[in-house]
Amino acid sequence: MDDVLYTAAEESEVREYLIFTVDSIDFGIDIGLVQEIIKIQPITSIPNALDFCVGILNLRGTIIPVLDMRIKLGFDAVEYDERACIVVIMLESELIGVIVDMVQDVIRIPENELIDSPPVLSNGRQSYTAKIACTDDKIRQIIDVNTVFCVNGI
């Protein structure tokens, strides 16, 4: 179905991104890192957890940590509604679950339509956004999972 897009951008590599929303802002993540998307389910809280860590859940026998993307990205916590879901991401060799407000779509973005985002934001904080994509008149921030969730990102 995306053949047209593909030929149009044949000079540049096309990647697929999962687009999700947090606090009405669109974010994208490389689909290659996404293992699956599950609905919100009972999560066991962990003592002494940092604020963005919701707890752990049982994904068919595998225990995975669950993080709240809102808090991780610096937004205020809200009550999850029925559109909220958990995106299971492969981080290095481990799975983690990330709660997002809602998942929208998977779209293809050619590499050459991505713009590098400035590494440091005006408020001096390091940006989680690796690239910015402008397609279909929409701006989407492609987040770099490794920056958001790695040790140094905390």
């Binding site: 066991t44 957890a49 940092l50």
Partner: protein
């Protein structure tokens, strides 16, 4: 090339086994600076088998190399090594083994064996040329000539020389410890000998002299070690051993008959069998013998580890399902005696099943230790150091997973010891140390843990250097003068720390001990380090023996459910506020049966929001940890469960301020997750 995957597995497994045997033979030969005729034959046979199998699998390079080695050893078999320079032979053969192992590792990783053997092939050919140049009739060394005579005698009766596969009885190594303080250990050992000798055809033991005054002390320290050869099932030996009074632990393991640790009196090298076997002079004859021998030796099948993992998981689920069924059975007024009897039987069957599954997964450390021996040899040679690796406790069995996780840390630590720990000979001489450096690698079990220690007698760690480096990297969290030695040494385990000032082939810079610790933590283990400058360094790794299925008591604090292993629980009581004492600092204590214990409120320890604070409403449990007895206070006790322990995802370490007190988690039959309390962390 289209290879059937299961055949590939068999090929890899078999070839690895053969290479391991080959390596043992080479190590033995190297220490004696020559190979006896039986060893030459063995190597020839091994190469022959590898050549055949590799060509079947169309691994051309491997087949070629095996062929070249086969030629070389065939020549050595006929003509010996005229100039007596065995070292060249050993070196080239060791290199070939490394090449084979490398290619097999690639195959195991599902990539193709694409290594180029040309260089090493040329080395083998050069050796062969050298051998051919030497005088053809020369006979090297006395042992060699007598062996040759032996062979000639035997080849006269070539037709009767094919040994039946079953005629070679397997060897076992038995090691046992008596209970502490049982006294007269040497005579107890003698009693063991008396009782098992009926079942064995040949037997030898260490300490050799049980009548000597020091024998008892030696047995207390190192255990009593028996090497035996028997056609009986090892279970027969086990049965006999188990009736020994005051026996603490024992292990019995199959061992290769030509393993160098077997006392020479019963080692296979003395056995005529090997020479007899080479009687078949034609190549095909030799090949037949190999396959026969292989079948006779391998009373094992290889199983894909994934299947075992799956099996373990299923058994875990069964355990959970079983306790659910039993805990939820509601009979009202009906008679439940039939159900209870059946449940009891089911329970014991499942326990047995569990034990079997666990035992299948248990593997001795020997393969892992062998790998280290190889590493030390290669590195010492390259770095021009003189190092002896002393190994003990390689029969210690641990879960397959543990072996996998332990491999990299051990490699890393031993590399460090060889590269940075052990000094050059001149430096050692100047320091008044023996020229030969020593690294010892030891494993033993203590109840629920396996302890692996790696120590060297090298230069030790320099505290000053560590502190300086830590300071540079901003890793210090408290004033230097307040730090204990242990705390200083543990700085090494922090990410981004590495004391190596130069980068060598073996110890790269940057990837450091933090990775080692991470690996060990992943299987619930811990590592600590001790060092004396100028004297050496000791690493101690502690790993749970099998932490997979435990009996536990479930309780809750607020909404959080915990499971504490039943072995740590001494009693559970409803506390009386009268028994609670608060000291001036606000620490609470509780009186139990006239004794005073500190009271840990888990709600506070874990910072859990909800939960009982009134002593009257909660429960207490009397807990015994490694170093102290104490009490914990929580909301309510839920009952006993059997659970499968899973490690916490290691990523959680980045999401919490502290995970101490939590040893893992368990999924119950209803899918809920419970945290496993680590009583040593409270």
């Amino acid at each position: 090339m289209n290879i059937d995957e299961s055949m590939l597995d068999v090929y890899i497994y078999e070839t690895q086994q053969l290479l391991e045997a080959l390596e043992n033979t080479l190590f033995e030969g190297e220490s004696e600076k020559a190979l006896g005729s039986d060893h030459i034959n063995e190597i020839f046979r091994i190469m022959h088998t590898i050549k055949g199998a590799s060509s079947m699998m169309e691994f051309e390079q491997l087949a070629k190399l095996a062929h070249a080695l086969e030629d070389m050893f065939s020549h050595i078999r006929e003509k010996g090594v005229p100039d007596g320079d065995w070292q060249g032979i050993f070196d080239v053969t060791f290199s070939a083994v490394s090449f084979f192992n490398g290619e097999l590792a690639k195959l195991q990783d599902k990539s193709s064996a694409d290594g180029d053997a040309t260089d090493i092939l040329n080395m083998v050919k050069a050796q062969l040329e050298r051998l051919k140049k030497g005088s053809p009739a020369a006979v090297s060394g006395e042992s060699e000539s007598s062996a040759q005579e032996n062979m000639e005698k035997l080849s006269d009766g070539a037709y009767m020389s094919v040994l039946l596969p079953g005629a070679e009885e397997p060897y076992y190594k038995l090691k046992l410890f008596f209970e502490e303080g049982c006294q007269m250990e040497s005579i107890r050992a003698l009693g063991v000998m008396e009782s098992i000798k009926k079942a064995c055809s040949r037997i030898a033991y260490i300490p050799e002299n049980l009548d000597s005054d020091s024998a008892s002390a030696e047995i207390v320290k190192n255990g009593f070690c028996v090497y035996l050869q028997t056609c009986e099932n090892p279970d027969v030996i086990r049965e006999i051993i188990e009736t020994t009074l005051f026996l603490k632990t024992y292990s019995i393991l199959p061992i290769e008959g030509d393993d160098e640790e077997i006392p020479a009196s019963i080692r296979r090298a003395n056995n005529q069998g090997d020479e007899a076997r080479r009687g078949g002079n034609s190549e095909s004859g030799a090949a037949d013998n190999i396959s026969n021998e292989f079948i006779a030796k391998q009373n094992f099948i290889s199983v894909n580890v994934n299947k075992l993992d799956h099996l373990l998981n299923v058994v875990g689920e069964i355990v959970t399902a079983q306790s659910m069924v039993i805990n939820n059975a509601n009979f009202g007024d009906l008679d439940r005696s039939g159900f209870d009897a059946a449940a009891q039987q089911l329970h014991s069957l499942i326990n047995e099943l569990q034990d079997i599954v666990m035992s299948i997964r248990m593997m001795p450390m020997s393969t892992l230790f062998q790998k280290m021996r190889r590493l030390v040899r290669e590195m010492a040679k390259k770095l021009g150091k003189n190092i002896h690796l002393e190994i003990s406790g390689e029969e210690t069995e641990v879960d397959k997973n543990v072996i996998d996780y332990l491999s990299d840390p051990l490699l890393h630590i031993i590399r460090n010891s060889v590269d940075h720990g052990i000094e050059d000979e001149t430096v050692r001489a100047a320091a008044g140390k023996p020229a030969r450096g020593k690294i010892s690698l030891e494993a033993h079990t203590t109840g629920s843990d396996v302890i692996v220690t790696i120590s060297d007698d090298g230069r030790g760690l320099q505290k000053e250097a560590i502190l300086k480096k830590a300071q540079e990297k901003g890793l210090l969290t408290k004033p230097v003068e307040e730090m204990t030695d242990k705390e200083i040494f543990s700085l090494i385990f922090l990410p981004g720390f590495s004391t190596s000032s130069e980068v060598t082939e073996y110890s790269g810079r940057g990837v450091g001990m933090d990775v080692v610790r991470k690996n060990i933590n992943q299987i619930g283990g811990s590592i600590s380090l001790d060092s004396v400058e100028g004297k050496g360094t000791t690493h101690t790794i502690r790993i749970p023996l099998t932490l997979t299925i435990v009996d536990g008591m479930r309780f809750s604090v607020g909404k959080t459910s915990f499971i504490v292993p039943t072995v740590s629980v001494l009693s559970a009581v409803k506390p009386d506020p009268k028994d609670i004492i608060t000291d001036p600092e606000g620490n609470e204590m509780i009186m139990l049966q006239g004794e005073c214990y500190s009271l840990v409120r888990l709600k506070d320890f874990f910072n859990i929001e909800e939960g009982v604070t009134d002593i009257n409403e909660g429960m207490c449990m009397h807990i015994s940890s490694e170093d102290r007895d104490f009490c914990i206070f929580f909301d309510y006790l839920d009952g006993e469960y059997q659970v499968v322990v899973k490690p916490l995802p290691s990523y959680l370490q980045q999401c919490t301020s502290s995970l101490s007190g939590i040893g893992g988690c368990a999924i119950l039959g209803d899918g809920s997750i419970n945290l496993i309390l680590d009583v040593n962390g409270l």
